[in-house]
């Protein structure tokens, strides 16, 4: 019988100082990491493989067997199933980005204990990437409406919300590897995977989707190890006081970058796509983010010099409104998406007013109008309820409409001869600190300004197999679905809201 502690100590003794080559700084870091720390991960590759094999057998086995035979996916509430079309492709990129992040960490962090943790996480992230792609394909095969599942990975690149997710998750691996670990392990995984992979499965299950919980909960069983990686990495960084000034800045940025996408997105998914209603996102946010992550984790690092992120109070004030505003933009701009929407009912609206007092005053009129505009025979697009499409934040890519349109913190400024929008003071600050990091891409409106909405839909492949019906629909009514002819008749032009003439 082998001694696991001794075995673990021995496999940590592989590193050496190269003498035939100069050390290369592939992924520059400003942090100094001690050579020895506590172990976040005490398994050997052998144990890890056997553990993961068992988990895979259980999860894929149940998907292939009982759930498929029982046609579980086709019986789920359509409202819920539709939003999974948007959720899976973007979470999938997060996992893929995480795999790249851990590759950078293995290369850069000269610490045997941490490397052991990162190596298992690297393969975990491939696991999650494949699980989520498998689940998407599973839904394409079994869901009652496969359109959107079948093309999600193709469509995510030009989708208003999926592209903002891309921007949030690129932070995992584009930059200082420790900055990546803060975004990935300390914020995204420790703060947000519990609401997404655990609590959201309650909504899935209450709405008849038994498949997503079996995948998400299996994913979450790996996430606890990644949280341990985050904690150990953070502990290693704070152990050297020289790291603190840079750490606080990177941590502030990491929190806001993840919050700016995840909170509005997940809140809209949570609150607007349940049919059989349970909890609201705000309740879960208070439990998982405010009490658990901030109260039991981040605040306890104060003696080591790490403070609660500077944007946290602003985030806490914004959270009650973010999901509603995001949902309003998503529903309003439904022809740009690749899933169907189900308008709120009077009963839903009552629930919103109970959970979010004051909701009706800010959003009630929109929903009354939206419902009227679901039927193409009424000849009006929900999009026309807004003066224009929203400007998109140069940093986080989210629409600049938050927390609510009437009190939006959007700001616009000129830089290098161009006008740029920012969703918040925080994103503007990040841009001011390092503008060159956010200027390497072609923005949405540079690609599509001046397009007729119908041309945008055709060019981006947003039509169903019949070549005329839209993948997206503003309602679940299958008798009268919107076609490209309906859209063309509306003569709606996509206009860059920052265009001056």
């Amino acid at each position: 019988m082998r001694n696991p502690i001794e075995a673990h100590n021995r496999v940590k003794d592989f590193d050496w100082e190269p003498s035939y080559v100069e050390k290369t700084n592939w992924y520059p870091t400003k942090y100094k990491i001690p050579a020895k720390t506590k172990d976040p991960f005490r398994h050997l590759v052998r144990d890890y493989l056997s553990m993961e094999e068992e988990k895979d057998n259980r999860q894929y086995g149940s998907m292939e067997d009982a759930l498929a035979r029982g046609q579980a996916s086709s019986k789920a509430e359509p409202r819920w199933m539709e939003i999974m079309k948007a959720v899976l492709p973007i979470i999938n990129f997060g996992e893929y980005a995480a795999m790249k992040s851990t590759g950078q960490l293995i290369e850069t962090i000269a610490n045997a204990e941490l490397r052991q943790g990162y190596l298992a996480q690297m393969l975990d992230e491939v696991r999650h990437t494949h699980q989520e792609a498998y689940l998407t394909r599973y839904f394409a095969k079994h869901a009652s409406d496969p359109e959107g599942f079948a093309q999600g990975f193709r469509l995510r690149g030009t989708n208003l919300f999926n592209r903002a997710g891309r921007a949030a998750f690129e932070t995992f691996f584009v930059g200082d590897p420790i900055e990546g670990a803060l975004n990935l392990q300390v914020v995204a995984e420790t703060a947000y995977t519990n609401p997404i992979f655990v609590a959201l499965t309650e909504i899935a299950a209450s709405n008849g989707d038994q498949v997503t919980p079996s995948v998400f909960l299996s994913i979450q069983s790996d996430e606890s190890r990644h949280m341990a990686n985050g904690y150990s990495t953070l502990a290693a960084v704070v152990s050297n006081p020289d790291n603190l000034p840079a750490l606080q800045l990177d941590f502030d940025r990491a929190f806001w970058r993840q919050h700016a996408f995840i909170d509005p997105f997940v809140a809209a998914v949570w609150d607007y796509f349940q049919t059989n209603r349970t909890t609201c996102y705000l309740e879960k946010w208070r439990e998982w983010i405010d009490v658990d992550w901030i109260g039991s984790y981040i605040e306890r690092l104060a003696p080591f010099g790490l403070k609660v992120p500077s944007g946290y109070e602003a985030a806490r004030e914004r959270v009650p409104w973010l999901g509603h505003t995001a949902a309003m933009v998503a529903y309003g701009a439904w022809p740009l998406q690749f899933w169907r929407f189900d308008p709120l009912t009077a009963k839903d609206m009552e629930w919103f007013e109970t959970k979010y007092p004051g909701w009706h005053g800010h959003y009630g009129n929109f929903w009354e109008e939206y419902r009227r505009r679901c039927d193409p025979r009424n000849g009006e697009l929900a999009l026309s309820l807004f003066p224009s499409l929203p400007p998109l934040c140069r940093v986080c890519q989210m629409p600049c409409v938050f927390p609510r349109i009437d009190i939006s913190t959007c700001r616009i400024k000129e830089f290098a001869g161009k006008r740029h929008a920012f969703c918040s003071a925080s994103c503007e600050l990040f841009f001011d600190q390092e503008p060159h990091r956010y200027l390497g891409y072609t923005n949405y409106y540079e690609l599509f300004d001046g397009y007729d909405l119908a041309d945008f839909i055709v060019e981006n492949g947003l039509l169903r197999a019949d070549g005329k019906t839209l993948i997206a629909q503003p309602w679940l009514n299958q008798e009268r679905m919107w076609t490209i002819d309906d859209i063309r008749a509306m003569r709606y032009e996509i206009r860059d809201p920052l265009r001056t003439q």
Binding site: A7, L49, S50, D56, L155, G157, V174, Y441
Partner: protein
């Protein structure tokens, strides 16, 4: 509703290699964004130094669409993990059975102490270095199918390294007077291992993910690993009373065959006649052959003193090297990279 009933119920944006989309293709393809096709806006963030998420110049090979690559093994995570879990279980059971049968105590003493206790154990440092090199290579690869193949190879390498450590712990437990110690000193100072260490240190600073795969899977493994592990240990184990180590090595050779196959596929893909950059890619590959072949050969030749120490003499390092070089030349010939490449 007719529009829904007519919908294809599978991912229709992936061009399958065979007639139907495979499970491997479905879960792997386009998980990495492709700015040439679906993600035209490029990358939203740059590093402080101005680097984007992925860089076309991360390899000197050129290809218009790296996403066309398919690993011939068709492995994705579920089956990769299953395969490796099975291999590790096989090792664990074989070692356990050999311990109960008393086989471990029947190893020739010089073989046990010098060839297994030092040489084979030293090899685990080499494998660890490869794990490091492949972990970075997977980060940089220009498509998901390539990144996954590189990532699995990184995990192969750390598996080999750790498996050796666990095996020696079992030998310690079973054989009185046997101790796993000093292998790191040999790795760092023994002249026999310095060309091998130099080789892996060079790989660890090679800034080209395709070069790392090409050098390791088509040059270094077929020459240095073939001589230092397959010929020297796997082939000669039974003559020294050791049927156990060869069985462990056979699992690593299964991985080697897979890694060789996907790297050959990468070469075929980048030298396909219809490709505009085929000739320039061939030139790059020949340059890599020129660079890495002498280094791999030198690493193998340095094992000569070990051959002199073998209690049961059979064959020489020159013969083993000739066999390995011959087989390796055939691999390159099969890819149209023979002749100029090696001498």
């Amino acid at each position: 509703m007719s529009t829904i009933a007519e919908t294809p119920r599978d991912f229709n944006y992936i061009k399958p290699r065979k007639r139907r989309l495979s499970e491997y293709e479905a879960v792997s393809c386009y998980t990495q964004p492709d700015p040439a096709v679906f993600d035209r806006q490029g990358w939203y963030l740059l590093t402080a130094e101005g680097r984007a998420a992925w860089r076309p110049e991360s390899t000197r090979l050129q290809h218009p669409h790296w996403f066309d690559f398919r690993d011939p093994s068709g492995l994705w995570q579920r089956y990769y993990v299953k395969l490796q879990a099975e291999q590790e279980r096989a090792i664990e059971r074989n070692v356990e059975d050999a311990a109960i049968a008393g086989t471990l105590r029947e190893f020739d003493s010089v073989w046990l102490h010098d060839l297994i206790g030092i040489h084979y154990r030293v090899w685990s440092f080499f494998e660890y270095g490869l794990f490091r090199a492949f972990s970075r290579a997977q980060r940089e690869a220009l498509s998901d199918t390539l990144g996954n193949a590189l990532c699995f190879e990184a995990v192969d390498r750390i598996r080999h390294a750790q498996s050796t450590v666990l095996y020696l712990m079992e030998l310690e437990a079973q054989i009185e007077g046997f101790k796993d110690h000093a292998s790191k000193d040999h790795w760092l100072g023994n002249p026999i291992y310095q060309p091998l260490r130099k080789l892996v240190e060079l790989l660890m600073v090679t800034d080209d993910w395709a070069e790392i795969a090409f050098a390791v899977n088509l040059i270094i493994d077929p020459i240095a690993t073939e001589v230092g592990v397959s010929r020297l240990i796997r082939y000669r184990g039974p003559a020294h009373g050791d049927p156990v180590t060869p069985m462990i090595i056979l699992t690593t050779e299964r991985d080697r065959r897979r890694n060789q196959a996907w790297t050959e596929e990468l070469v075929r893909m980048t030298t396909a006649p219809e490709l505009l950059s085929a000739e320039s890619n061939r030139k790059v590959l020949r340059g890599w052959i020129e660079h890495w072949t002498p280094l791999a050969t030198a690493a193998a030749k340095a094992f000569a003193p070990l051959y002199d120490r073998l209690p049961v003499r059979s064959g020489s390092i020159d013969e083993d090297l000739a066999v390995a070089r011959g087989a390796q030349a055939k691999i390159l010939d099969g890819l149209g990279l023979g002749h100029e490449g090696h001498r």
